[in-house]
């Protein structure tokens, strides 16, 4: 199969869906002539014109709100937040408006809106440009949340997001855009709520998401050399969350590690640990371990950022501890 980058896979999803459905339109900063700061929307302005690729002022509250209005009146907008951190600027429109419209109206309206953004650290962008916030969106009812870790999922999940009738927060990682992977030419989607087993294993279940999946796979290979057989699960979406795949794996391994780049406190690891002890307590032979970013704003200096964010070594350490 041909290999393309994560950025290219996302672009193909947007392009193919825009071609299929004339109601899909894009809004965001520098997404037109420049093609987006990560080049995901490159070429789309030329192809679809300024009515469907709308360059916005630096007005996140305004254009995300406008996207809600567009969505409520038959359009299918994709609003791009250049960095996840700017979601806070648009937070009322996301949390109080988009997320609740359907429910508050007793089902009278729907909001088929995709908010695409990218998050994560590792590039020295400091505390206001490096946050991983999936847990915040996961917490607020009414939003679906997807976090692809590879080009195949990026394309398939984005297509699902664009076809969904609900607000979807689609979270990319800034260090994944140039990663390559196999992506079929034919149309396909990746359904929400279905985790992927990236590597089968019998000794430890290692649940991860987004870029941390790459670290998890690296750690699993290292663990294999020590005779520990790790099953790596990529969540792919946090809402809906595929608890079943995790529990099935635990029945075999009886040990669970959850790894993510978001802060440890109330991260998705906390939710998974709680769910597992509610639903699968009897299968556990060891305490559940979490690997996550420290509970500090992401520091700038490389010597600090490297420590603040979890890496393959931190995951390997947790895997060793959970089998010890």
């Amino acid at each position: 199969m041909r290999e393309i980058t994560y950025a290219q896979a996302l672009r193909e999803a947007l392009d193919e869906e825009m071609e299929r459905d004339p109601n899909i339109l894009l809004l965001g900063e520098d997404i037109g002539v420049y093609g987006g700061v990560f080049k995901v929307t490159e070429g789309l302005l030329e192809k679809y014109g300024p009515d469907r690729v709308i360059e916005t002022p630096i007005s996140e509250a305004g254009f995300v709100g406008a996207a809600v209005g567009l969505a409520m009146t038959g359009k299918r907008p994709m609003a791009e937040l250049m960095f996840m951190d700017f979601a806070w600027v648009a937070s009322d429109q996301i949390f109080n408006q988009a997320a609740k419209m359907r429910y508050m109206s007793g089902g009278r309206v729907k909001v088929p809106l995709v908010i695409r953004t990218q998050q994560g650290g590792g590039r020295g962008n400091a505390a206001q440009h490096s946050q991983s916030l999936e847990a915040v969106f996961t917490h607020i009812p009414g939003l679906k949340v997807a976090l692809p870790s590879n080009p195949y999922d990026a394309k398939g999940l984005l297509k699902t997001a664009l076809r969904d009738d609900n607000p979807v927060v689609f979270i990319e990682h800034k260090l994944l855009y140039n990663t390559k992977g196999p992506v079929p030419v034919e149309d396909y989607t990746v359904p929400f709520g279905q985790a992927a087993i990236k590597r089968p294993g019998d000794d430890v279940t290692l649940v991860s998401l987004s870029r941390t999946v790459l670290h998890a796979l690296e750690a699993a290979e290292a663990a294999a050399e020590e005779g520990i057989d790790v099953e790596v699960i990529d969540l792919r979406t946090t809402v809906p969350l595929d608890l079943d795949t995790i529990v099935q794996s635990l029945k075999k391994t009886n040990r669970l590690v959850v790894a993510h780049e978001a802060h440890r406190r109330l991260g998705i690891g906390a939710e998974i640990a709680a769910l597992v002890q509610e639903h699968a307590f009897d299968y556990l032979d060891a305490p559940i371990l979490r690997v996550a970013a420290m509970d500090i704003p992401i520091p700038y200096s490389r010597v600090l950022e490297d420590v603040a964010l979890p890496g393959p070594q931190d995951i390997l350490d947790a895997v060793r501890r959970v089998v010890a």
Binding site: D30, V33, P57, A61, I296, P299, Y300, S301, V303
Partner: protein, 319 residues
Amino acid sequence: MSLKKQDLLRMYKTMLLIRRFEEQAVQFSLQGELRGSLHPCIGQEATNVGAVFALRPDDLMTCTYRGHGHCIAKGLDPREGMAELLGRETGCSKGKGGSMHWTDPAIGLLGENAIVGAGAPIAVGAALSAKLDGSDRVAITFFGDGAINQGALLEALNLAAAWQAPVIFFCENNLYSEMTPIANMIGTETLAERAEGFGIPAMIVDGYDVIEVYEKTSEAVARARAGGGPTFIEAKTYRLFGHMVGDNEPYRTREEVEEWRARDPIKTFPERLQKEFKIAKKEIEAIREEVEAEIAEIARFALESPWPKVEEIETFVFA
């Protein structure tokens, strides 16, 4: 004009120091010594220096990720600035903030900011604080043309008007917000007229004329100090470098850049000093040499500074 020869020379020196500082920072970025994004203020030095020189050392200031010039003009030790860019313990923010988060309350600097528009309400609060204290300190907030479309900034304008806060909204209109021409993003001819809608007096200045920037900003500062409330200043300026290191600038023409470069204050101001103010060429050359020596020392200090201690990674999450 209240500017004396020594002031003019100090203006020139500061502008040049900022230019050379930013060039050195770009160098460090290309060499991989500096991580993350770097947004040089190259081309905007006259705007920065003219405005900041109108302030007192105890006046308060917020600015943006493109704020190195303002901070150095306000008195931030450029060695600490460069050390911050290299993520060192001796940096003004202890290596925790980097290029976009220089902070130094000792010089009234309440922080650069990486969120567009976010510094404006903070400056209004600082101005209100000064007013409540009965002090005559003023606050200034620097922001770009693009920030004019942020809700936080527009709310700040209204708060300042309603409270008659002693604050100057200083907009550096360099024609582009990142890669987008501001002209495509607004419904008015100028940015200044926006402020008038809030009941805030506004003026437009030539950001490439450091003396004009100084004089107009001084008027605004005097009004704020005397209890006359906020002013909005739109400075027409231009960056002679990309939005950030790595920007390949497809959104603007070479001709446009060259047109502004011909007026580059770093080149034209010393000429003006000689012609209009009869300052000797050798005095200007002495400043150039001084700045070169300073830059070498700044770079050395930063490179030789220790890394932050990992044991202190959690320090400063809370007071």
